[in-house]
C-alpha cells in the first residue's frame, strides 16, 4: 500500500525528453531521435491494427468453405491491402524506425543521430506514404497482391494501382533516409572507447539492415516508377503483348523484396541478442560470429531473389544456382540460433516478458527457417509453390520472428521509453497468448499447403475446413494477444510502477542514463572501457573497475 502511494508521487521533477517542452508543435517539429521514435510508434501501431483488420476479415471468410462473407473481388483486395500495409507500413519501419531510432544513439553514447533534421523528414515522408495507403483503403482498395505483378497490375486491374505504388515508392524514401542516418551515425558518433567489437549486437544488426535499406530500396523505387509509367501511358515495358518482359519485373521486384525480408528479420535478431544476454545474465556466446552472421545474411540476401521465381520460367541452371545460394542463407541464420541457445547454457535465466518473446522467437524462427529450406529445394517447391505452405512459412519468419521480437523489444525498453513498468503478469499472459495463438493459426496452414490448398482464394473444398477452423480460432487468440499489450501499455503510462534507471540489471549504455532519458541522453559523454554484455559477478567487475 505504502509503496503504491510512493510510486504515484511524481518524481519526474528531473528534466527528461518528455517534459523538456510541451505542446503539439514541440512534437511535430522535434529533432530529438527519441520523440521521432515515439511518432513512428504511434503511426505504425495504427497501421498494424488496420492491417490486422484485413487479416481478421480474411480468417472469418475462410471459416467456411463457401465464399459467404465477401465476394472473390473483395477478398482479393483484402489480402492485398493486408500484405501492403503490414509489409511497407508496419514491418519495414517497425524495429528500425521505432526501437532503432529511440535506442541506437543511446546505445552508442551519442546525443542524437548524425542528421536529426533528416530523421524528422523521414517520418514526414513515411506519413505521406501512409496517408496515401490509407486513401487507397478508403477509396476502394487494390487487388494485385502486394507484389504488383505485371501485366495484371498495369493492363488489367481496375483498382487503385498507381496510388498504391506511389505510396510504397514514397515510403521507400523514408527507409532509405533512416538507413543512411544509421550508417553515418554508427561510423561517426560512437562514444570514445566504443570500438566496433564493443558494440551491442543490436547495433551490428541495425548496420547490416541499413546497408540493405540503402542498396535494395532504390531498386524497388525505380521498378515502381517503370510500373507507373507503363500503367499511365499504356506502354509495354513489362507486358509481353507489347514486347515487354514480365520476368524482368519479377527480377527487379524481388531484388528488393527478398532483401526486404532481412530488413524485417535482421533487426529482430538484434533485439533477440540483447534480450537473451540480458535475461541469461551472460555475454553472448560467440559474439563475433553473431556480429558477422548479420553481415553475411545481408550479403547473401542479395543473391537469392530468384527463388521466388523458381517456377516462373527461369532457366533450370539459374534455378539451381538460386536454390544452392538460398540454402547458404541457412548457415549464418543457424549460427545465430546456436549461439543464442549456447548463451542460455549455464546462464541465470529469468522468464520475464521480453525473454518469453525472445524464446518464442528462437523456436518460431527455427521452424520458419527450416521450412524455408523446403521451399528452396527445387523439386519440393514445385509441389508447395503458391499454396498455404508458403503462407505459413513466411508468417513464421515475419510474425513469429519479426513481430515477436518487436513486442519483446518494446517490453524490454518500455521502462526506458516511458519511465514506467508495464504490468508483468499481463505481459507474460499476452506473450503466452501470442505464442499459442500464432502456432494454432499458422501450423495448420503448413498441412493445408502440403495437402494442396492454394493461397489467395476465398473459397475451398470442404475437406480443408477442420484445419481452417483451427487456423481461424488461433487467429482470434492472436488478436487478443496483440490487443492486450496495447491496453496495458497505455495504462502503464499513468499507473505503472516507476522503473528506475535499470530495472533489468542489464548491461548497455542505455541503462546507465535516467529513465526516461534527458533530451541529450547523457549529462556527460560516456567513456567506454568495457566490452558489450559485461555480466560478470560484481566482485570480479569491481576489481576491473579499480584497475
Amino acid at each position: 500500500m505504502t509503496t503504491a502511494v510512493i510510486d504515484r508521487i511524481p518524481i519526474e521533477t528531473e528534466e527528461n525528453y518528455l517534459n523538456a517542452s510541451y505542446g503539439v508543435k514541440s512534437w511535430l517539429l522535434t529533432k530529438d531521435h527519441k520523440r521521432i521514435g515515439i511518432l513512428y510508434l504511434l503511426a505504425i501501431t495504427v497501421m498494424f491494427f488496420v492491417g490486422g483488420f484485413f487479416a481478421t476479415m480474411m480468417r472469418l471468410e475462410l471459416l467456411t468453405p463457401q465464399g459467404d462473407l465477401m465476394t472473390s473481388d473483395t477478398y482479393n483486395k483484402f489480402f492485398t491491402m493486408h500484405g501492403i500495409i503490414m509489409i511497407f507500413f508496419f514491418l519495414i519501419p517497425s524495429i528500425p524506425a521505432v526501437l532503432g531510432n529511440f535506442i541506437l544513439p543511446i546505445m552508442i553514447g551519442a546525443k542524437d543521430l548524425a542528421f536529426p533534421k533528416l530523421n524528422l523528414l523521414s517520418w514526414y515522408i513515411y506519413m505521406i506514404g501512409a496517408i496515401g495507403g490509407t486513401y487507397v483503403v478508403i477509396a476502394g482498395g487494390v487487388d494485385t497482391g502486394w507484389t504488383f505483378y505485371t501485366p495484371f497490375s498495369t493492363q488489367y486491374s481496375n483498382t487503385h494501382v498507381i496510388a498504391t505504388t506511389l505510396s510504397a515508392f514514397i515510403t521507400g524514401f523514408s527507409s532509405i533516409l533512416t538507413g543512411l542516418n544509421f550508417i553515418v551515425t554508427i561510423h561517426r558518433m560512437r562514444a570514445p572507447g566504443l570500438t566496433w567489437f564493443r558494440l551491442p549486437l543490436f547495433v551490428w544488426s541495425m548496420y547490416a539492415t541499413s546497408v540493405i535499406m540503402i542498396l535494395a530500396t532504390p531498386v524497388l523505387a525505380i521498378t515502381l516508377v517503370l510500373l507507373i509509367v507503363e500503367r499511365a501511358l499504356r506502354v509495354g515495358i513489362f507486358d509481353p503483348a507489347l514486347g515487354g518482359d514480365p520476368l524482368l519485373y519479377q527480377h527487379l521486384f524481388w531484388f528488393y523484396s527478398h532483401p526486404a525480408v532481412y530488413i524485417m528479420v535482421l533487426p529482430a535478431m538484434g533485439v533477440v541478442s540483447e534480450l537473451v544476454a540480458a535475461f541469461s545474465r551472460k555475454r553472448i556466446f560467440g559474439y563475433k560470429f553473431v556480429a558477422f552472421a548479420s553481415l553475411a545474411i545481408a550479403f547473401l540476401g542479395f543473391l537469392v531473389w530468384g527463388h521466388h521465381m523458381l517456377v516462373a520460367g527461369i532457366s533450370v541452371y539459374s534455378a539451381m544456382i538460386f536454390s544452392i545460394l538460398s540454402f547458404l542463407v541457412a548457415i549464418p541464420s543457424a549460427i545465430k540460433v546456436f549461439n543464442w541457445t549456447a548463451t542460455l547454457y549455464k546462464g541465470s535465466v529469468s522468464y520475464d516478458t521480453p525473454m518469453l518473446y525472445a524464446l518464442g522467437f528462437i523456436g518460431l524462427f527455427t521452424i520458419g527457417g527450416l521450412t524455408g529450406l523446403f521451399l528452396a529445394a527445387l523439386g519440393l517447391d514445385v509441389h508447395v509453390h503458391d499454396t498455404y505452405f508458403i503462407v505459413a512459412h513466411f508468417h513464421y519468419i515475419m510474425v513469429g520472428g519479426a513481430v515477436m521480437a518487436y513486442f519483446g523489444g518494446i517490453h524490454y525498453w518500455w521502462p526506458k521509453i516511458s519511465g514506467r513498468m508495464y504490468p508483468e503478469w499481463w505481459g507474460r499472459l499476452s506473450a503466452l497468448l501470442v505464442f499459442v495463438g500464432f502456432n494454432l493459426t499458422f501450423f495448420p496452414q503448413f498441412i493445408l499447403g502440403y495437402l494442396g490448398m492454394p493461397r489467395r482464394y476465398h473459397a475451398y473444398v470442404p475437406e480443408f475446413q477442420v484445419l481452417n477452423v483451427m487456423s481461424t480460432a488461433g487467429a482470434s487468440i492472436l488478436a487478443i494477444g496483440y490487443a492486450v499489450p496495447a491496453i496495458y501499455m497505455i495504462w502503464s503510462l499513468k499507473y505503472g510502477k516507476i522503473a528506475g534507471n535499470n530495472p533489468w540489471g542489464a548491461a548497455g549504455l542505455e541503462w546507465t542514463t535516467t529513465s526516461p532519458p534527458p533530451a541529450h541522453n547523457f549529462d556527460e559523454t560516456p567513456i567506454v572501457t568495457w566490452d558489450a554484455y559485461e555480466y560478470r559477478p560484481p566482485e570480479e567487475a569491481a576489481v576491473v573497475t579499480v584497475v
Binding site: 542516418n181 561517426r188 542498396l215 531498386v219 516508377v225
Partner: protein
C-alpha cells in the same frame, strides 16, 4: 565541426550509392531490351538530334567545372568568386534543361512520345516505342535531379552572399558538389547509350 563535416560527406556518399542502384535498375532494363530489340533501338536512335545532345554534354561538363571552382573558392574563402561560380553553374544547368526541353518538344511534335501520342509507322513500332519509353524515363529522371539541384544551388547562392561559408566551414558547398558531379556522370552514361550507339 570536423565531425559534422565528415558526417555530411559520408552521408552524401551513402546517398549517391543509393542513387547508383536507383539508376542501375533502369540501365539494366535498357540493356536487356537493347540486346533483345537491337534493330529497333538502332532505328530509333536515328531520330535523336546528335548536335543538341553534344552541345548539352559540353554545357553540362562546363557546369561541373564551375561547380568544382565553387568548391575551390569556398575553401579559400573568396566570397565573390564563390557566388559567381555558383551562379554560372546554375545558368549552365538551366541552359541544359532548356535544350532538353526543346528536344522533348521536337520529339513530341514528331509523334515519338510513348502512349496515345505515339504515331510511328513501322513493323517495329512497339519496340521503337519501348526505346522512347526508356529515353523519356531516363532523361526525365536525370532532368528531375537537375531541377532538384537548382533548388540546392539557389539556397547555396543565398547563403554564400550572406558570407556563411569560410575555409573553416564549406561542407554544404562540397556536398552539393558531390551531388552535382554525380548527376553529371549519369548524363555521361546516358549520352552514348541514347545518342551515339547506332
Amino acid at each position: 565541426m570536423g565531425q559534422q563535416y565528415e558526417a555530411s560527406t559520408l552521408g552524401m556518399w551513402v546517398f549517391l550509392t543509393t542513387e547508383i542502384l536507383f539508376f542501375g535498375g533502369i540501365f539494366l532494363a535498357y540493356t536487356l531490351y537493347r540486346n533483345q530489340y537491337f534493330e529497333a533501338f538502332k532505328e530509333a536512335a536515328h531520330h535523336q538530334d546528335l548536335w543538341l545532345g553534344t552541345i548539352n554534354t559540353a554545357v553540362l561538363i562546363c557546369s561541373s567545372l564551375t561547380m568544382a571552382m565553387a568548391v575551390y573558392f569556398s575553401q579559400l574563402g573568396k566570397r565573390k568568386a564563390l557566388v559567381t561560380s555558383l551562379v554560372l553553374t546554375l545558368i549552365l544547368g538551366v541552359v541544359f534543361v532548356g535544350i532538353k526541353g526543346y528536344e522533348y518538344y521536337e520529339h513530341i511534335h514528331e509523334g515519338l512520345f510513348p502512349g496515345s501520342l505515339f504515331h510511328f509507322q513501322s513493323p517495329m513500332a512497339d519496340q521503337i516505342q519501348l526505346f522512347f519509353v526508356f529515353y523519356f524515363s531516363m532523361t526525365g529522371l536525370h532532368a528531375l535531379h537537375m531541377i532538384i539541384g537548382f533548388g540546392i544551388l539557389i539556397w547555396l547562392i543565398l547563403r554564400a552572399r550572406k558570407g556563411d561559408f569560410s575555409p573553416e566551414y564549406y561542407g554544404p558547398v562540397e556536398v552539393t558538389g558531390l551531388y552535382w558531379h554525380f548527376v553529371d556522370i549519369v548524363w555521361i552514361f546516358l549520352f552514348p547509350l541514347l545518342y551515339l550507339i547506332h
